[in-house]
Symmetry: C2
Amino acid sequence: MSLRYALLGLLNDRQASGYELTQRFNAGIGKYAWSAKHSQIYPELRKLEEAELVEVVETGTRGKRIYALTETGRHELRSWLHSEWGQGTVRNEFLLRLFLLSALEPDERVRVLHGVRDYAAARLAEVNAILEWFADPEFDESVGAYAAKYGQFSLEAMRSWADWAITEQGDGSSD
Amino acid sequence: MSLRYALLGLLNDRQASGYELTQRFNAGIGKYAWSAKHSQIYPELRKLEEAELVEVVETGTRGKRIYALTETGRHELRSWLHSEWGQGTVRNEFLLRLFLLSALEPDERVRVLHGVRDYAAARLAEVNAILEWFADPEFDESVGAYAAKYGQFSLEAMRSWADWAITEQGDGSSD
DNA sequence: GAGGCCATGTAATGAGTTACATGATTAT
DNA sequence: ATAATCATGTAACTCATTACATGGCCTC
């Protein structure tokens, strides 16, 4: 059901076509929280329309259909956000790899850990750039602001963890 | 393919039956990184056996089959851990909710955020307990040690984020 | 007019969940 | 004997990815 709410949430921010929603899934949300391809998005929008949670507010050239939330849809989204937050689906290949790291020899592990730290640092730079963008007072709050800040905190945590893991391994060479 | 590697990784730690692997999925890995039900695990183990990545090393009463990694399997697991760590599958309902938080009115949002902070704090307590357990010198390193430490870092990040988000909302009442 | 992007769709396949189904062993 | 736990499996369904398919619009 999460895809459904992801779509409702994005449409709550502003109305959009399936194509545009697909783009947005490739950006923030898709990278960090929930991803979907157009082949899943288009049929889901049709279903949401049928359920009257969204409606087509404009049609354009070459079959373009712009969807917007209905009041029912907005209500549905909010009641989901109020429902239990614990333990939804979690699927994180990255963390899975961490769980299995002990399968490597210490020296191999250190090499991999350096890669992780670099990865975290690179992502953190991305997120910091986004946060500066949000700091511009021209925006007030868009969907991404909370998530971006969360990304900053958790990428810093990842980087710190990698540093810890590397020194734990007896290799103190940093950078 | 991740399930496959999750199983290989758990078996690398020590040999196990499908039933036991199912239990382990309900604990650490399943809670934080990757989950699976027995109905998916049993058939996958059969496939892994056919591919000679695992083998049955012991059969017990009532159809019990204990699997162990083969050399091929161990090699497969390691080469996966050496392959590209960037951007695997990410599916995190919790983070999705964060992305969509702006759909709530400020006061509702604060209420939800308090829930998030409490959730993070509770999970952090869990993880800290596990880490004390690992600190016991009787264990050296098992699968979970790196992951648990990562959990500690990232749950602290989540708690800090929630605190930040709550004060950002104009409600400074902490604890 | 060629190539890239906009825009939507369907079909086939694979991954994952829920429900159905069975039966042995252990503890009370 | 009854319930809980051990132990494995299959079937039906839903969710998600990859591949196939079409065509308009815009820029060079």
